[in-house]
Amino acid sequence: MPFAIPKETYNGKINSVTVGKDANTVSLGGISTYPFLGFEGQSQASIPIALEVWNSAPLDWPLALNELYGDVYADPVKWALTCQDKYKADMIALRLASTHPDQGDTSPEDAAQVVKQVLEAIEVPLIILGANHIEKDAEVLKACAEAASGYNCLIGKAQEKNYKTIAAAAMAYGHYVLALSNLDINLAKQLNILLTQMGVKEERIVMDTMSSSLGYGLEYSYSVMERVRMAALKQNDTMVQMPIISDVGIEAWKAKESKVDEAAWGDTHARGILWEATTAVGLLMSGSDALIMRHPEALKQVRKTVADLTSVEG
C-alpha cells in the first residue's frame, strides 16, 4: 500500500509586502504553508536579510563586530555601503541609536539627515529603526518618514503606546509600518487591528512578535510565532497574516556565549557567528519571513541553510 503523504490544508495566506524603490525592491511573505514545507503549498523561496547599521558608533558591540565595522562606525553612509557592496545584504536596517535620551539624545532632524544621506547612497531597501524609546521614537520616526518620502521604507518599531504618530507618518509618506508586540499572539493581533483602524492597509504592515536569543528566551519567540502562523494559515485570521521580521543580531550578540573567551566553550569567533546564525535559523523554522542581522559570516551561513531548505528533490 503506497504511503499517503499527510498534507495540511491551509485556509489563509501570508501577505506579500514589497519594500524599496524602482527596480530595487525586496518582498517579504507571500507564503501559504508552515515554514519551508514546499510539498504542500507555496513556501519561502528565499529569505531577505538586512544587515544592521547605526547612526553612531556602538559602544557595546563585541570584538568580532568591531573588527569588521570599526573603520566605518563614524560614517553611517560608508557603513551601509560596506554592508550592501561587500557583504551583500538584501536590505539595510538603520538603527537611530543615538537618539535615545540615555545614549546621546540627538535630535530628530539630525536622524532625518542621516536617513537622507544613506538613502541617496544605497540601492537596496532601507529599514528605519528607532532607539526603542516610546516618546522619542515617535518624534524621530516622524521626521525620518518625511525625509525618506518616496523610498517605500519599512519604519518602526511602532508599539502599543506610540503607534499613532508612527503610522500616521508612514501613511503620509508612503512607507510600511513595522509593528512590535511582546511575545503574545493577542497583543500582536491587537496592534494590527489598531493600525488598520487608523487606515493603514493590511498589506503595508510587517510584524515583529519579539525575538529572543538562543539560550535567552528563544523558545518563547519560537512558540509565539508558531501560534501566529497557525492562526494566520489555518484559521485564516487576516489580522495576523502580516509577514514577520526578526531582529536577530541585537539579541544574539547580547548573549555571553556569543562573545566571551571561555576555553571550555571552544573558539570564540566561530562560536559567536554560530550563535547568531543558530538563533536566526530557530526563528526562521518557527515562522519568520525576514531577518535583521549583524555578522556577514552569520548571514552567509543562514543563506546557505535557507538555500538547502528550499531545495527539495522531486
Binding site: L214, Y222, S223, K256, T278, S286, K304
Partner: protein, 449 residues
C-alpha cells in the same frame, strides 16, 4: 493516542459480572482509560479484543532505548507536532560519528573529546547522546578493534554501523549486553540484521533512501521478523527534503495512518561536503523538526554549545518555566560580612547570576524571590518583582539571621525600584548593581575596596 472509556467499553463483554471489582463493565472501562487498573483484572476479555486494545492504546511513536546504565538514551513517545501543545518528551541524542579507518591515536582523541564535551546550563548537564562507530574498512577485525578502543574511552551508548551481517555479528559479540543501536537493516540484509537484533535484544535502525513508501514497507517487513524497537532513517537528502520527510513521518505516526512509521527517526547532519557551520545549522533544524538521533561528523565545543542550548530551549516545558525555590542561597562559603544580592526565581536568571558571582571569586549570599519563574524584567513588568515583594523576601528568608551586614544589591535592570525599596527597608543600605550580570565580578571587586 489514549482511548476514551466509551471506546474501551465497546470491546468488553458487557455482562457486568463484577469480577473485576467494579460494578459494571463501563465503570471498569473508565478506570482503564485513566490507567488506574490493568486490563488483566477482567478474565473475560477475548484475545482479539485484548490485542486490539493494547495496540490502540500504544503510544503513537514507540519508545526505543539505546544502551544501558546511567547514560542510556530514550527516544520516541512524542505526542504532538508543536511544542506549545504539550512539551516535547525525549530530547534527541546528538551523536558523533567515528570511522574504523581513523587510526588508534586519532580515534582515541576524538572519543575522549566527545566524552568530555559536557556543559552545565540552567542546572542541567548537557552532553552527547551516542557515539556511532562506522565500518568503512569492510574489515571485521578492524571494526571490532575500533569498537574496543571506543568503549575503553567512553560510557556513552553506541551505534554500530556496518552493512555486513557477519561483521555486525562479531561486533555484537563484543558489546554483549550493552544494547547498542544496530545500523542498519536495508532492503538487502534486513532478514539477517533482524535476526541479530532479536538474538542480542538490540534496537535496530531501518534505512531506505527511496522515499517514505519504501521506508514504510521495509519497516513493516522488519516488524514482521519480530523486531519492534526500530529507528527509521530516511536516507541522505537535501535539508528541505529531509524536513519534509521528518514532518510527514511525525504526522503519519500521530495519526496512526501508516503503521511502519510509528518510530523515532535518525538523520545525518553532516554528509560529506557539508562544512562545520552548516553541519550545526542542519542539526539545529533537525532538533526543531522531530529528529530523535542526529549524527554529526565533527563535534567541537564551539559547535556543540549552540546545539545543546537549542535542544534545551526546544524541549523545555512551554507552560512552566524552570524555577528555583524562594530562599537564601550560599555562593561559595559566605560569612556574615559577605555581600547580599537579590534576584528572581527564574532558573535561567538564577544560574546566570550565581555563575557570575562564582566568577568574581567572592563568596556571597543570593536571595531568591518567588515570582512564578519570571526573569527580572518580565517579573517587574508584571508587577511581581516590586518593592513590596523584595522587602518581604528580605525580611522573611532568614538572611537577617545569617548575615550581619545590611548591604543589599539590586539588579541594575530594576534601578527604578531603588527609592521604594530603600524606604521599605530602612535599616538596609540599598545599592543598584550592574544591568548585566556579566559586569558583576567587576562591580563586586569595586565594592569590596
Amino acid at each position: 493516542m489514549a482511548l476514551t472509556g466509551i471506546q474501551i467499553y465497546k470491546h468488553l463483554p458487557k455482562t457486568n459480572c463484577k469480577e473485576c471489582g467494579f460494578p459494571t463493565c463501563l465503570a471498569f472501562a473508565m478506570k482503564l482509560s485513566q490507567k488506574q487498573v490493568e486490563l488483566e483484572k477482567c478474565p473475560y476479555v477475548s484475545d482479539d479484543a485484548k490485542a486490539l486494545l493494547v495496540e490502540e492504546s500504544a503510544p503513537p511513536i514507540r519508545k526505543v532505548v539505546i544502551g544501558t546504565g546511567e547514560k542510556l538514551l530514550e527516544v520516541g513517545e512524542e505526542t504532538v507536532l508543536f511544542r506549545h501543545e504539550k512539551t516535547f518528551v525525549h530530547p534527541p541524542g546528538i551523536t558523533l560519528l567515528v570511522e574504523d579507518t581513523l587510526g588508534t591515536d586519532e580515534l582515541q582523541k576524538r572519543v575522549k573529546q566527545a566524552q568530555a564535551a559536557s556543559f552545565e546550563r540552567v542546572g542541567q548537564q548537557l552532553c552527547l547522546g551516542l557515539i556511532m562507530v562506522q565500518n568503512i574498512s569492510k574489515d571485521k577485525d578492524k571494526f571490532v578493534q575500533t569498537i574496543d578502543v571506543t568503549q575503553q574511552n567512553t560510557d556513552l551508548p553506541l551505534v554500530l554501523a556496518s552493512s555486513d551481517a557477519a561483521i555486525m555479528e562479531a561486533a555484537l559479540e563484543k558489546t554483549a549486553g550493552l544494547k547498542p543501536l544496530i545500523y542498519a537493516a536495508t532492503e538487502d540484509n534486513y532478514e539477517a540484521m533482524a535476526a541479530l537484533a532479536k538474538k542480542h535484544a538490540c534496537p535496530l535502525a531501518v534505512c531506505h533512501s527511496g522515499g517514505l513508501d519504501k521506508l514504510t514497507e521495509l519497516a513493516d517487513k522488519v516488524v514482521g521478523q519480530g523486531v519492534n524497537d526500530l529507528v527509521l532513517d530516511p536516507g541522505i537528502h537535501s535539508l528541505g527534503t529531509t524536513v519534509a520527510y521528518l514532518t510527514q513521518i511525525r504526522r503519519a505516526a500521530l495519526k496512526k495512518s501508516a503503521k511502519g512509521l510509528g518510530f523515532p527517526v535518525m538523520v545525518f547532519a553532516g554528509p560529506q561536503g557539508v562544512d562545520a557551520q552548516q553541519e550545526v545549522l542542519r542539526a539545529g533544524v533537525y532538533i526543531m523538526k522531530y529528529a530523535a538521533v542526529i549524527v554529526l561528523r565533527s563535534a567541537e565545543n564551539w559547535q556543540l554549545l549552540p546545539l545543546f542550548t537549542l535542544k534545551q530551549n526546544i524541549y523545555t516545558d512551554p507552560q512552566q518555566p524552570l524555577q528555583v525555590e524562594e530562599n537564601v542561597y550560599k555562593i561559595g562559603e559566605p560569612d556574615e560580612n559577605s555581600p547580599i544580592l537579590i534576584t528572581t526565581n527564574f532558573s535561567l536568571t538564577y544560574f546566570i547570576v550565581a555563575g557570575e558571582i562564582e566568577n568574581s571569586k567572592m563568596p556571597a549570599w543570593l536571595v531568591i524571590a518567588d515570582v512564578e519563574g519570571m526573569s527580572v524584567l518580565t517579573a517587574w513588568a508584571a508587577d511581581k518583582f516590586n518593592a513590596d515583594k523584595i522587602a518581604k523576601v528580605v525580611n522573611t528568608c532568614g538572611i537577617k539571621e545569617q548575615a550581619r551586614n545590611r548591604n543589599l544589591i539590586l539588579p541594575g535592570a530594576v534601578a527604578v525600584l531603588y527609592g521604594e525599596v530603600a524606604e521599605l527597608l530602612p535599616e538596609w543600605k540599598v545599592m543598584v548593581g550592574p544591568r548585566e550580570a556579566s559586569n558583576l565580578p567587576k562591580f563586586m571587586k569595586e565594592q569590596s575596596v
